[in-house]
Amino acid sequence: MKNRSLVTIAGHSREKIEYLIKMAQEFERHPNRRLLAGKVVATLFFEPSTRTRLSFETAANRLGARVIGFADPKVTSGTKGETLKDTIMMVSNYADVIVMRHYLEGAALYASEVAPVPIVNAGDGANQHPSQTMLDLYTIYQTQGTLDNLNIYMVGDLKYGRTVHSLLMAMRHFNPTFHFIAPDELAMPAAYKRYCEEQGISYVEHQDFDADTISGADILYMTRVQKERFADLMEYERVKDRYLLKKDMLCKARENMKILHPLPRVNEIEYSIDDTPYAYYFQQAQNGLYARQALICDVLGITLDDVIKDNTIYQ
C-alpha cells in the first residue's frame, strides 16, 4: 500500500493544496461527524506542545475516532533507551494513524519509512510543521477569497521561524509578493531568499516597521522575537520593541488586511488590536481544527468526495 503519510507540504502541488482547502471547508461547515468511527488515532508527543496536541485530538474526537497517546515524553520508553522505530512499531499495532511531534529533525520522515500506518507530522524539531502551514493557507484563503497574487508581510523572527519558512515555500504556486520585516540578527536566511529567486517570487526587505511600510499588506504575519535567539542581549534590548504591532500603525491598512500569528503571542500584538476587524489570529487557531480534520482524513485515504457525500454528520 502506498504510504500516505504527511511529512511536509513543501512538495505539495497547487492542486493538492486547493483540494485540502476544499476538504477543510467541508469540515468548517460540519465539524461533527462519525467519519472516523471505529478508528484509533495515536498522538505521540515526544516534545510537549499543548496547543497542537489539543487541536489534533479535537479534530480526531469530532470525527468520532478514539484517541490514545502521550503528551509528555517523560512517560515513554524513550527515556529507557527505546528507539523511535521500536516505539512507532509498537504503536502501529494499536492505532490506524499516528500523529507525532518530535524534537529531532527528520524524525517524521524516518517514522513514515518504518511505520506500517500513516504518520502525520505535528512538528519535527526546527524542520517541518505542515499542519500549521495548512491552517495558515486555509486562513489566508478564507480571509482573502483566494491565494493568488497576495502581498504577504512577515514580521519578527524570520531566521528561526519555522512557520514563515514553510508558508513561504507552500505559497510558491500562487504568485505572492513577500515583504520581510526583521532585525538584522533575525533576517530571512539567504537560502530562502534564493528559493524565492529560483521560484520567481518577488520580495522586499524592510528594517522599518510602521504604518507606511505595512499599508500595502493583505496579510500581516506576525511572529515573536525571542530573547534566547540573541547572542548579544544589548542588541535584543535595542530591537525588541521595534517589531511590536501597535493599534495606531493600522491607520493606513487595507480594508481586507488580516493579522495572523501562529501563537502564543507575548506582547508583539497590542491587546487593543484584538477588537479590530484586522485581528484574525484566534480564528486562525480555530481553523487548525478543520485543517487537521482534513489532513487526518487525507492520510487515511478518505477523499473529498467521501467527505462531501458523508452522511454521518450530527449537530
Binding site: 528507539t83 523511535l84 529533525e105 527528520g106 520522515l109 524516518y110 519535527d124
Partner: protein
C-alpha cells in the same frame, strides 16, 4: 614507464585507484573496507603530482569492485581515476559517478538530525547540478562536498 610511477609497485591483476586527494585517502580506505581485507594492498601517500600538488594512490591486488562500491567514493574523491588491471595491462579506465542518493556514506553534521540519534542509515541527495552541495533527506541540512565527513 618512468621512475615516478614505479614508486608504487605495479600489480598483475586487480584495481588501481589514482588521483586520490591525500586528505581523503583514509576516507577511501574506510569506504572500501580495505582495512578488513586480506588482499595485498599497496598505498602511496602524499606522492608528488603535477596536476594536484600531492596525491595518493591505492593498488589492490586480485580485487575488482562493483560500480556501487566505487561510486560511493565520488563524494570524497570525485576526480579519482579508476583502472582495472589484468596481466599488468589496464583493461578498463573509468571515472566514478555520484549516485542519485548517497545511502549510509555521509554523516549529517546536524546533531539534532534523527540520523545521529537512531540506529539507521543516512541519506543524502545532491542539491546543485555540479554536485558540490548535498542535502540530508531527513533534516534538510546542506553540506558542502568538501566538508563531508563519512560515517564511521
Amino acid at each position: 614507464m618512468n621512475k615516478k610511477e614505479m614508486m608504487v609497485a605495479a600489480i598483475e591483476n586487480g584495481t588501481v585507484l589514482d588521483h586520490i586527494p591525500s586528505e581523503r585517502l583514509f576516507d577511501v580506505v574506510s569506504l572500501l573496507h580495505l582495512d578488513k581485507m586480506s588482499n595485498a594492498i599497496t598505498i602511496g601517500y602524499n606522492l608528488k603530482s603535477a596536476a594536484m600538488g600531492t596525491k595518493s594512490i591505492i593498488k589492490i591486488a586480485d580485487k575488482y569492485f562493483t560500480p556501487e562500491e566505487l561510486n560511493q567514493l565520488s563524494v570524497v574523491a570525485p576526480d579519482i581515476t579508476l583502472c582495472v588491471i589484468k596481466d599488468y595491462e589496464i583493461i578498463e579506465k573509468r571515472p566514478v559517478i555520484m549516485p542519485e542518493e548517497l545511502v549510509g556514506i555521509v554523516r549529517c553534521p546536524n546533531p539534532k538530525c534523527i540520523t545521529n540519534n537512531e540506529p539507521m542509515r543516512t541519506r543524502f541527495r545532491s542539491v546543485t547540478a555540479d554536485k558540490e552541495v548535498i542535502r540530508c533527506c531527513y533534516c534538510n541540512r546542506d553540506v558542502k562536498r568538501t566538508d563531508v565527513r563519512i560515517v564511521e
